[in-house]
């Protein structure tokens, strides 16, 4: 009998170096995260369902892994909206960020979030004051380069009855990068937050992200879109916690996978409070050897009276070797609900539709591309801002062409 002993990885010294210049409040958060990252194991593919199709144990992250070069810009702030950086202090925004940082996605979620908090420096917080309605989207643009570990952090804090759309685009160069992004959304009561992530990572970037919406204020609304355009691996853990009465979330995902890209999402629609609503549509079209994994849990707790939950995952397989694994799961503890539905499909383009388009002179390839667009169109159709919707469609078109 042989015992496999993992060499202990101690991230504390590296974390301390990353934290030079931290404001005082951040030091204990980072130290705690470094301890967790050193103590925890990698998520286990055999034991943890969201990791069934991706074994991260060979990822090769060690205390010697260098930090990637990261840049972030934020534009489109208006109507009193502001942005603060992790290093800021002495402003009301910095104080608010200090209070909520690491509370929506906690460092101990798994070893990846622990590492994120142990290393992150590229953190920004977007603050939207009460009753502010931003007409145009706030744009966050991020780049990572030079290889190593990237740890982008985005915290969104909104006041009561505010409305904001935030589009964050992630890009990286062709170097070997492991990115561990975290997005925390902390809305005020009655606030409506739309957060769209465009994943345009380089071909050698592996992404393991966490995003969570904390619906702890009444009637807070959340719309989330993941548009996956590039990246060797894009694996996401997305969660909406519908705790207070009347909170709602709509989780959307669109992916077009080529070559050996692997997109992999775990979603949780967690209905805790009464009158909560959630909807989810994830769609991917897959070519070549691309793989899509979707595992989603809709949980309706004992207190979630009148919950309305829907969950749908659809996959279009455009080659014999493309692969989709889909597993939407319902876990319902109360019978007093409006709806709880889920569905999943995977299959090729409808032959009847192809024939119809071809019968009008449209060549096979073009006809197939039209049907891929049509298939993904439904998801974009849910983006209420028409200009932005078109922009997102165009971004996808670039990849389709």
């Amino acid at each position: 009998m042989t015992a496999v002993v993992e060499q202990r990885l101690d991230f504390r010294a590296a974390s301390q170096r990353a934290g030079e210049g931290d404001p005082a409040w951040l030091t204990p958060v980072r130290a705690n995260a470094a301890n967790l990252a050193s103590e925890m194991e990698w998520p286990d593919s055999r034991a943890e369902r969201p990791w069934k199709y991706y074994d991260i144990s060979g990822i090769g992250l060690t205390p010697e892994t260098a930090a990637a070069e990261e840049h972030v810009t934020c534009e489109g702030l208006e109507r009193g909206a502001r942005v603060s950086l992790l290093a800021d202090h002495g402003t009301p925004e910095a104080d608010a960020a200090a209070k909520l940082f690491a509370s929506v996605v906690t460092p101990g979620t798994d070893r990846l979030t622990a590492l994120h908090y142990a290393y992150t420096n590229a953190g920004i917080a977007v603050h939207v004051p009460s009753n502010a309605e931003l007409a145009a989207p706030v744009r966050i643009k991020r780049t990572a380069s030079g290889g190593g570990l990237a740890t982008p952090h985005t915290l969104i804090i909104t006041g009561a009855n505010s409305r904001v759309t935030i589009v964050e685009e992630f890009t990286s160069d062709g170097s070997n990068i492991v990115a561990l992004p975290v997005v925390e959304v902390a809305p005020g009561p009655g606030s409506e937050v739309r957060y769209y992530a465009i994943h345009n990572w380089g071909g050698n970037t592996k992404v393991f992200m966490h995003q969570r919406f904390a619906g702890t204020q009444r009637d807070a609304q959340f719309q989330n879109l993941q548009l996956v355009l590039g990246g060797e691996v894009v694996k996401g853990h997305l969660e909406s916690s519908l705790v207070e009465r009347g909170t709602a979330s709509e989780l959307l995902g669109v992916g077009f996978g080529v070559s050996n890209e692997h997109a992999d999402f775990f979603t949780l629609q967690d209905h805790v409070g009464p009158d909560t609503r959630s909807d989810l549509v994830y769609k991917s079209a897959l070519k070549d050897d691309a793989q899509s994994v979707y595992y989603g849990l809709t949980r309706v707790g004992l207190g979630a009276k009148n919950a309305d939950a829907a969950q749908e995952n659809r996959n279009l397989l455009l080659s014999k070797t493309a692969k989709a694994d889909s597993d939407p799961v319902l876990e319902i503890l109360t019978s007093d609900i409006i709806r709880a539905s889920h569905g999943a499909t995977a299959g090729p383009v409808e032959q009847d539709q192809l024939f119809y388009l071809q019968a009008r002179g449209i060549p096979y390839k073009e006809a197939e591309a039209m049907l891929v667009r049509a298939f993904l169109e439904e998801v974009f159709g849910r983006v209420p801002n028409e200009e932005l919707r078109q922009e997102l469609v165009d971004r996808l078109e670039e990849k389709l062409d």
Partner: protein, 250 residues
């Protein structure tokens, strides 16, 4: 003179079942032909095989379009040569608008990009001809269309593509009398001396509005009788049963 469409001893099957058993038919420019036949006689198979539906297999014979065999051509190649099929059951394509679809189709069949203005002008003109609302084109192709709307959409596509040879598969089914009249008027306006038209129908009703010079009766995968418009009237009066009985005793 080379025929527009020449079907020679065509045999075809779907799965293991042979449906067309040696069908021959020649259509010259300017001619309107009607193929009539009972259910299961092979009418829809003929339409699908002409257009190249991959679900059907041609096991013998040939289809010549202006002297060139279509059999090895993909459906889109046939369409670009000038063949058009108005489907009996047009399929819905949610996510693709009719206007976008027609623009792609027009560009593909013309072989070059038609300027958007020119395209729009033609589209609105044809929509007027077929009495359809302008917002019709912004809807998804056949998605949630009524039976009549689907048939009008097919005719609109035909009007936009201006094919040399059009096959109308049961275009009268699902149409009320007003819609039928509109569709027929549209077809009659589009028809010209260079074009060929093949009407595939179970009933004579459509033939009151679009007048064929030639009528053929299709039974069990073969044309058993050909004649002029009077043949359609005979069939309407006596039905297919009588004809089938006559053939059996002959």
């Amino acid at each position: 003179m080379t025929a527009l469409l020449e079907i020679k001893d065509l045999r075809a099957r779907i799965g293991d079942k042979e449906i067309l058993k040696g069908l021959s038919l020649t259509i010259q420019p300017g001619e309107i032909h009607a193929i009539m036949g009972p259910n299961g006689s092979g009418k829809s198979t003929l339409a699908n095989v002409l257009m190249g539906n991959p679900n059907y297999e041609v096991t013998g014979g040939d289809i010549l379009f202006r002297g060139e065999s279509l059999l090895e051509m993909t459906p889109d190649e046939r369409a670009r040569k000038g063949l058009f099929l108005a489907f009996q059951y047009p399929v819905a394509i949610p996510g693709v608008t009719l206007v976008n679809f027609m623009r792609q189709a027009v560009n593909a069949t013309r072989g070059h990009e038609v300027p958007i203005r020119e395209f729009r002008e033609t589209l609105f003109e044809k929509m007027d001809l077929l009495k359809v609302d302008q917002d019709f084109a912004r809807r998804y192709v056949n998605d949630g269309f009524s039976g009549g709307e689907k048939k009008r959409a097919e005719m609109l596509q035909m009007a936009m593509l201006q094919p040399a040879m059009a096959v109308l598969d049961e275009t009268d089914s699902g149409l009320d009398i007003d819609a039928l009249r509109t569709v027929a008027e549209g077809v009659n306006t589009l028809m010209n001396e260079k074009m060929g038209l093949l009407l595939i129908t179970h009933y004579q009703r459509l033939l009151n509005y679009i007048k064929p010079q030639f009528v053929h009766v299709l039974i069990e995968g073969r044309i058993v009788k050909s004649g002029g418009p009077e043949l359609a009237e005979q069939l309407e009066a006596s039905g297919y049963d009588e004809l089938e009985a006559q053939l059996a005793t002959a």
